[in-house]
């Protein structure tokens, strides 16, 4: 089983991602509604993948990626950004910070799962 952390401030979208992963099978999902919750969730269990939104209050997705990638304990965890196509500049920054993939909202289940597959392979 792979442990996946979903960081997303929309509850409905969070649960959609969860459903997609659970339907595909083989995932244990941890949810975080904002950056702070994500920071708390990180040390709570070993993680195989992080899926994060960019635009969130307090700590944004890029700051979270920066934190994960600069912290030896988590730097090997692959990250996927889930955000809207408007954030082209932010997407570039996320990828340069070390995110493995990018999924544009609204997304199809297949696109999300293919990004998840690639991110886990690359690990």
């Amino acid at each position: 089983m792979k442990h996946v952390l979903i960081v997303e401030d929309s509850k409905a979208i969070r649960s959609m991602i969860r459903v997609a992963l659970e339907e595909a099978g083989g995932f244990i999902v941890v949810e975080a509604g904002n950056g702070f919750e994500a920071l708390k969730a990180l040390p709570a269990q070993p993680l195989d993948l992080i899926i994060t939104d960019i635009n969130m209050p307090d700590i944004n997705g890029l700051e979270l990626i920066g934190y994960v990638k600069s912290n030896p304990a988590y730097s090997s965890i692959p990250l996927i950004i889930v955000s809207t196509e408007k954030s082209e500049e932010d997407k570039k920054r996320g990828l340069s910070l070390g995110a493995s993939g990018y999924v544009v909202k609204p997304f199809k289940k297949e696109d999300l799962m293919s990004a998840v597959g690639k991110a886990l392979e690359g690990k």
Binding site: D9, S10, F36, I54, N55, K86, D90
Partner: protein, 667 residues
Amino acid sequence: MSKTDRPIKEFLAEAEDILESANQALLALDSGQAAGRIDPDTVNSLFRAIHSFKGLAGMFELKEPSELSHKLEFLLDELRLGKVGLGREAFDVLADTVAQLGRLVQQAGTSQPFEEVTETRERIDGILRAKPSAAGERTLAEQISLDRGILQVLTEYEEHRLRECIREQKNFFLLKADFDLSDFETAIKDLNAALKKHGEIICTLPTAGGGAGISFTIVVGTTEDRAALAAAITAPRVSIEKIAYADSRKSEEPKAEAGALRSVSNTVRVDIYKLDNLMNIVGEMHLLKNVIGRIGKELRALQGFTGVSADLHKAHRSLERRLNELQEGILEVRMVPIGQIFTRLSQMVRKYAKEAGKEIELELQGEETELDKLMIEDLADPLMHLIRNAIDHGIEFPDDRRRLGKPEQGTVRLTASPRGNRVVITIEDDGGGIDAAKILAKGVEKGLLPPNHGLDLERDRKDILDLIFLPGFTTRETVTELSGRGVGMDVVKRNVSKLSGMIDILTEPGQGTVFTLTLPITLAIIKALIVEAGGQLFAIPLGSVLEILQSSSDQVETVEGREVMAVREDTVPLLRVAKVFNLAVNHRRGAFYVILVGLAERRLGIIVENLRDQQEIVIKPLGKRLSDIPGISGATELGDRKGVVLVLDVESLIEGTLKKTVVSTIK
């Protein structure tokens, strides 16, 4: 992931939450804008709300909500990045779009088809097109000595805020805060809340702390100094470091930048009720002026036109002139171009035309005509209704129009033009016109007229057409979505009357219909004729007075039980004020004055015994219990110890005479 996967309820709950917070942000923006200070945090929170909404709508595959929120998100992004300025127009578009998103959510909830969003999207495009071009800027690293690691993780928005703070020459501080992993969340939130009171938080970057700890690097932009910031911090393990500007620009720039801090516009936004209050004071001053005038007169009577009485006369004159200037000044401030509602109306025309399956072109003319702000707001509804009527009942379907040899596209023309102290608004359509015979038949059917009404289609055409303004009259069997739910022309007429306006119909079967609204440009203060009838004083708004005739009993004729008088080629119905209000008539030599009021073909001669004066009056409402008395629109004071004087409601008197015509014909 289609919408069938997940219940729509989940969408509704979250969408409503999001819109609630969006509306709160809008309210804050509105008052912020009024105060001339827009909080970037509020714009950002609105952006985030709509961003979430868009994501949500997209996931549920709701086309219209998703498209519209997408567009709105784009606009908000440009706004928060400072690429588009947040002016009044942009704000209106924001508010309207959020309101429409609310309706779309409701429509999703009740499984109705979504309303059209193209228009709103086009409005947003309009705002986006108007944006100023962004000037090239130096990189942040060139401007401020901030660690590259931090600059890297800023989102585009945070970067924009940083640039803005640099432009405003704020002081920057780098805070490092260490917390225990177990309880950092409340601690950092408290710290951020405290910092926000003293400045703007550019970013909160988490960094790994030693052992079981976590650190945050916070960048704050503020106008305050280090000591003030330090005093605000209660958390124990926080260090503050000043971030230096990268070059010497700071020292030389404040002068050049000072201009940028000053607002570009010279306008202020004022609550209309404050102006109302000022106008009331002017009204009171007019009363005082009248008192002074009367004292002057009495003094002159006592000692002739010399010394003190002459001085008082002069002072009274110049007081009057200054007061008039003051009044005109305030009136001018209240005036706004009527184009404000025309634009709103034109947006709705497209929507209604589409719903009705008709092709309609709306022509606007005279948008620059000015009217009192308060009146403009109250005019929106009646105009909307008249336009809906033209679209629904007036303009024919394209097929029918082709058969009639008319262009398939119908035209609705909305014009406004100033006429002295009045504004004339017309709503014209090139549709089928109104059939007087049908109106008459309907009037009988609805019990508004007895079968033996005796009205002649030719001779009494005007009176027959006026039937459509009576309560309970509607020519359609089914009340359409378009012409409103049970709201009839009587409501339009009442609303126009409330504004001391008059409404007139001109219609030609097969050619079209013109509704003409004549309104005073303001209700705040008006000129009135003070007359005497039945031993009492009344005020008649001068705006509705056409002419004043001196007359006597032998000129009055009685036709079909009503008093009329020949005025040149016309026969004008008469109304005795004393009789209307059951006052004892003073039959002095059978001589009296006829005040001719009205417009176009609708005229009325008001019989009064004496003319007293012409004055500026401020109409005050009579209070709830007396508000429904027909023929009286309010009361005013004249400032000459005569107490309160009633103001005649000319429109309702004309209407009353019309009804009486009908009633007298019935008898």
